[in-house]
């Protein structure tokens, strides 16, 4: 009955599979977007060090990295989702819900050691709800997670209202802002490095990772190739919720303040970083290295602009422009390459997918 199942799926919008790296000229290999982002990152770093005194100082970089913590953590799970051609817009709301829960439970006298695991389980359940709606009902993840974005944020307000709970004991705050002893590296950054290494291996060196790319490139083909598409997507959504809840704990302790509106709009920053890192929003393409470079580029650029007293408005404009440029440049390059190879004017009738 497998064909019946698939006809009931929303897979009627089957995408044309992206030609993966095939037939690319040696020159094109160096023009890969994620490599360009890496180069840009190095340029920003060199330019920043030369132009702004204090930018390259250990203190500033440590602060800038710590400030990126939550975005970077969530971006790891988001990368896997987007590679599999799904998206989770509810992550910032899960972060807020988790922050509100930490505050409310702490206020009720619970121990942090009990609160943290509980909150992470709640995050996993949030992810599970997203995943079940997407996989069991076959709903588009964009629509589902716009709904849960409002739902989870609303629950955060239900839990904590507009109160702010501060007064967390110092030893817990140290976990979020303190440095690993003897190094200038904040704990969350250390954690990110470990998780990023794990994610990188899973995504690029295991069968699970390959199946994500397969699902993103052509879901039906992946299904017929024996990949358990629905189960894998469910796992990804649960992961995404779990990581977002954990990021909520880090966020709460780092700012020493639990609020229902913590991290509003953060989902856009995460998606911006993932796409800037060269992950194709249509799925099936991207590298974790590119995403990490994208996260760092956005973070360092914002830090640099801040050091130079450039207003947050301009920072937001720069983020937006970077995002647009990051999606349009690879396509322009690809289009230019295609035109060079096939000068026939009839190419307009075939859909030249990225």
């Amino acid at each position: 009955m497998a064909p019946d199942v698939t006809t009931a799926d929303p897979a009627d919008d089957v995408k044309v599979p992206a030609p993966a790296g095939r037939g690319r000229s040696p020159f094109g290999r160096f023009l890969r977007w994620d490599v360009l982002v890496g180069v840009l990152l190095v340029l920003v770093f060199i330019g920043g060090s030369a132009g702004s005194p204090g930018f390259a100082s250990i203190d500033n970089l440590s602060f800038a990295l710590g400030d990126l913590g939550e975005i970077a953590l969530i971006a790891l799970a988001m990368t896997m989702l987007v590679v599999a051609a799904e998206v989770d817009l509810s992550v910032a709301s899960v972060l807020g819900l988790s922050s509100a829960l930490v505050g409310a439970l702490w206020d009720a006298g619970w121990a942090i050691e009990t609160i943290i695991p509980l909150v992470i389980v709640v995050g996993a359940v949030c992810g599970l709800v997203n995943g079940l709606l997407v996989t069991r009902l076959g709903l588009p993840s964009l629509a589902v997670t716009i709904g849960t974005l409002a739902l989870y944020r609303g629950l955060a307000y239900v839990v904590l209202g507009d109160r702010a709970i501060a007064e967390f004991p110092q030893q817990y705050a140290d976990l979020a802002v303190g440095d690993v002893p003897g190094t200038p590296i904040p704990y969350p950054v250390m954690l990110f490095v470990v998780l990023a290494a794990v994610t990188g291996v899973v995504l690029h060196a295991t069968g699970f990772g390959r199946s994500l790319f397969a699902i993103g490139a052509q879901e039906e083909a992946a299904l017929f190739a024996g990949i358990r598409v629905k189960r894998i997507k469910l796992i990804l959504f649960v992961l995404s919720g779990t990581v977002a809840a954990f990021a909520g704990v880090v966020y709460t302790l780092r700012y020493g303040s639990a609020r229902a509106d913590n991290g509003v709009g953060l989902e856009l920053a995460v998606i911006a970083a993932v796409l800037l890192g060269g992950v194709d929003f249509d799925g099936g393409k991207g590298t974790l290295g590119g995403v990490i470079a994208g996260v760092l580029l956005i973070g360092l650029l914002r830090n640099l602009l801040m050091l130079n007293d450039v207003s947050t408005e301009i920072q937001s404009i720069v983020t937006g422009l970077l995002l647009i440029i990051s999606v349009i440049t690879p396509r322009l390059v690809a289009a230019a390459g295609q035109r060079r190879r096939s000068p026939s004017p009839t190419s307009s009738s075939t859909p030249p997918e990225s």
Binding site: D13, L151, G154, V158, S316, V327, I328
Partner: protein, 340 residues
């Protein structure tokens, strides 16, 4: 259910389910209004109804524009920032130059909005970039631009021409102007999409962009047109926002993009394109606004509002999906029987 019970009436059932989207929203609205009015009689008072209509009009305008974009299997997340930018810049202009009238305000607002839509449309249709990413980018850029221009200032009602303010709060034959404008826009767009060949193109593109292109539909131009239109309506909505509230800060309509998308999706426009009507989208917007008002009247803890809105959106898309699956099953069974 056996094949015997799924008898002659299947066609009627199927047709009804296809049309049920608007009907079910109307039914939900009716139940909501009846229950709320039963608990609190003030809900149906003239002032209460007027407030709902005024609040809904701006959302309806945005939802009409958004549904044209969503029907082509795209999305426009930048509408909230466009409303904010237009409300502020037009307000700023009118406050600085008292000689300018209401027509000028509307033209300026629509022009600014259309310009934003033009940028979105060019990037999406000619850059062939995913719409979600492009409009997320322009959301940031337009919002930043708005804050940059505003620079922490705010527009006050006393600085605005009285004619503009009376547009937002005045009535014609007892009906406020804003809902009239929204309904006219909805009817015009609904008629165009349904009755003009170029209007049908939007559905064809949403169902299958490749097939539409092969069938000779100017896909890029239509998508471009959808964004231009959505931007222009967002511009108009920005002017109406200014006229309704008078006092405007830079982040006026921050976050509205999700409300608009919610309204469209609740209204039965499929996010995967090709399906839905602007009437449904407008009803969705009216339903969302009415729920908000009803929660206030019923003295529901305001903290629950957002959660309820989200749950409702999930319920709407789930029910829609289950109905679609059931219809598909009924159709398949019927076809199988006819084939044998």
């Amino acid at each position: 259910m056996s094949a015997v019970t799924a008898g002659r009436s299947t066609r009627g059932v199927v047709d009804l389910v296809f049309r049920a989207r608007e009907l079910s929203i109307v039914a939900a609205l009716a139940v909501l209004v009846a229950v709320t009015a039963g608990v609190n009689g003030n809900f149906l008072s003239g002032q209460g109804m007027k407030d709902i209509l005024l609040n809904a009009s701006i959302l309806v305008l945005l939802a009409v524009g958004q549904s044209v974009v969503v029907i082509t299997r795209n999305i426009d997340l930048s509408v909230g920032s466009v409303v904010g930018l237009v409300a502020f810049t037009v307000g700023d202009f009118l406050a600085a130059d008292h000689g300018r009238g209401i027509v000028f305000a509307v033209v300026l607002g629509v022009a600014v909005g259309a310009l934003c839509g033009l940028v979105n449309g060019l990037l999406v249709s000619f850059g062939r970039v995913p719409a979600l990413v492009v409009t997320l980018g322009t959301l940031y850029v337009i919002q930043g631009l708005d804050h940059f221009i505003a620079h922490g200032r705010q527009i006050n009602a006393v600085d605005l021409p009285p004619a503009l303010l009376s547009l937002g709060n005045g009535t014609v034959l007892g009906v406020p102007y804003l809902p009239v404008i929204a309904v006219v826009a909805m009817l015009a767009v609904g008629y165009y999409l349904r009755s003009y060949p170029s209007g049908r193109d939007f559905y064809a593109i949403g169902s299958s962009p490749e097939a539409a292109g092969l069938a000779g539909i100017p896909v890029r131009r239509r998508v471009m047109g959808a964004y231009l239109f959505s931007g222009a309506l967002a511009g108009l909505a920005g002017v109406l926002w200014l006229s309704r509230f008078g006092t405007v800060v830079a982040d006026a309509a921050n976050g509205w993009e999700l409300q608009v998308v919610s309204a469209v999706v609740v209204g039965g426009v499929a996010i995967t394109g090709g399906v839905g009507t602007v009437y449904g989208a407008a009803l969705g917007a009216l339903l969302l606004t009415t729920i908000t008002s009803a929660l206030v009247v019923l003295k529901v803890n305001p903290f629950w509002q957002q959660a309820i809105t989200g749950a409702l959106l999930l319920l709407a898309i789930s029910v829609d999906r289950l109905l679609a699956l059931r219809v598909a099953r009924v159709l398949r069974r019927r076809n199988a029987r006819h084939g044998s």
